[in-house]
């Protein structure tokens, strides 16, 4: 039931909604927890109209903290958000892969007198990768293509700089060149294309080497060729 709710939620909602939601929710959640822990005698409510107010001690990071700490904190929030969303998906893939390992292998391990833990680590885990790899590779491709969304979460990534440096005018500077953003974005496009292509090749090689000695069609093919 919970699994079904989870799948329909994740499948039914655009990922960018998750990203936008989790960043603010995490930020406020951390501050609220610190607020509860650090200033117990604070009486005013946290939500006042459209403001979210916690006591100064509970601010995260503290308002006296240096600038780099603020930026690092923002960055780690974005990373945690990505980890939450993609971690859930990776768990799903690994679960499917564990189920795909032939049951006879596990029964044989038991027959040899291995304990549950030994069976898991010595038989199940080494064999599940070959089944997990297509799913994980897919996830990796998706993750690469999701990284420009970091820009929406307030991280100064490559997209941010392409926009800033490419434009002829920013809030602070006026560059002597015209609007170069289109060339910068063209470069980004080529960069991402190359990135996905290289990943594809690496994943292909990994699949090949993982198939060695496996009881699958690909493994059988390798054995015949040898």
């Amino acid at each position: 039931m919970l699994g079904k709710l989870y799948t329909s939620l994740v499948r039914g909602v655009p990922d960018i909604v998750f990203f936008l939601f989790f960043v603010i929710a995490l930020d406020q959640g951390v501050e609220w927890l610190r607020h509860q822990a650090l200033c117990p005698d604070w009486t005013e409510p946290v939500r006042q109209g459209s403001d979210f107010l916690v006591c100064p001690d509970a601010k995260m990071p503290l308002s006296t903290a240096p600038q780099w700490l603020h930026e690092t904190y923002n960055f780690s929030l974005a990373v945690v958000t990505f980890a939450i969303v993609f971690g859930a998906f990776a768990a799903n893939v690994l679960y499917g892969a564990m189920n795909a390992v032939p049951h006879a292998q596990l029964e044989t391990a038991h027959a040899y007198g291995m304990s549950g833990r030994q069976t898991f680590w010595r038989v199940l885990v080494p064999q599940m990768w070959v089944y997990a790899l297509p799913g994980l590779g897919n996830l990796w491709m998706i993750l690469i293509k999701a990284t420009p969304l970091l820009f929406l979460l307030g991280v100064r990534d490559i997209v941010y700089w392409a926009r800033e440096l490419g434009g002829s005018k920013t809030g602070v500077y006026e560059y002597p060149h015209g609007d170069w953003r289109i060339y910068y974005f063209l470069f980004l496009l080529v960069f991402y294309l190359a990135f996905t292509r290289v990943s594809e090749i690496v994943i292909e090689r990994l699949t090949r080497s993982l198939s060695h000695g496996q009881a699958t069609a690909a493994g059988e093919k390798l054995r015949r060729a040898a």
Binding site: I16, L139, I142, K145, I182, L193
Partner: protein
């Protein structure tokens, strides 16, 4: 304001009708639901336009990629590689910057006695520019799906078609194409769902929301900014999108049923749900 008045004022705000100013203070739940729902009109518009137009282009792409002639195959392969290999987000940015640079000339032409004037200015607006990008993008993804299905059309079916003397266009239209669709349909359903979700990116990439006429997520992030409370607007968007996804699944399931109607019950393919997050 009562909820009915809010509805009258904001139900079509995303199209430019009704109250001009967005709610600024004392934002009620009703206002959030109505305005976000009004933004959903754009998401549905983008998804439907891109899907319907992209479907035909995708079929052409799949046939071209399956062709034995390099002149047809290579461009299709490159098109699919470029649009599937790069983030949709970057495609939006690039397309918008390119459209801005286009000379602002108008093209006038007469069709069926009616004068049309098309101007490149419209391309920088989301309703045309973003639809174009989404159309090309979904055509590439669906083209790859159709190509895979085209390659797995059973050989027996094609041989039977030959035996009946069907050739060329007739064979494609009567045998190859329906089988291809039948095989590709579960994957294509997923593609439709993800396209629907991808429409939320439009107003977060280059395309500005002209006169604050944006999509569901645009209004949701507006409310999240104003109230500094993400726990109300984002779940509302999520709710709307879950309903939208369910209706996509229903419609595509009906089509799937029709495509599979000649098969014995045991061999019918259910729409399997597959994972594919972001494009």
């Amino acid at each position: 304001m009562t909820c009915a008045e809010t509805f009258a004022a904001y139900a079509f705000r995303s199209l430019g009708y009704g109250e001009r100013l967005l709610p600024k203070a004392d934002i009620t739940l009703c206002e959030q639901i109505v305005l976000i729902g009004s933004g959903l009109i754009w998401n549905v518009y983008f998804a439907v336009m891109a899907l319907v137009l992209g479907f035909f282009f995708a079929t052409a792409l799949a046939v071209a990629k399956n062709s034995s002639r390099a002149l047809a195959r290579k461009p299709a392969e490159w098109f699919i590689f470029v649009f599937r290999g790069s983030p949709l987000f970057i495609q939006f940015f690039l397309a918008y910057e390119a459209f801005v640079l286009l000379p602002k000339v108008g093209v006038e032409f007469t069709l069926l006695g009616i004068d049309f004037s098309a101007s490149t200015r419209w391309l920088t607006r989301a309703w045309l520019g973003a639809t174009l990008v989404l159309f090309l993008n979904t055509a590439a993804y669906a083209g790859e799906i159709f190509y895979g299905a085209l390659r797995s059309v059973p050989r027996g079916d094609l041989e039977a078609a030959d035996a009946y003397g069907l050739t060329g266009w007739h064979k494609f239209r009567r045998i190859t194409w329906p089988t291809m669709l039948r095989l590709a349909w579960p994957a294509y359903t997923n593609e439709a769902i993800f396209l629907f979700h991808a429409t939320t990116l439009v107003f977060f990439s280059g395309f500005p929301a002209w006169r604050q006429m944006g999509d569901a997520l645009y209004y949701a992030s507006y409310f999240a900014d104003k109230t500094f409370n993400p726990f109300i607007p984002y779940p509302i968007v999520a709710g709307f999108f879950i309903c939208g996804t369910l209706s996509v699944i229903t419609v595509f399931g009906l089509i799937n049923k029709r495509l599979n109607r000649h098969l014995p019950r045991a061999r019918r393919r259910k729409i399997g749900l597959r994972l594919n997050l972001i494009r």
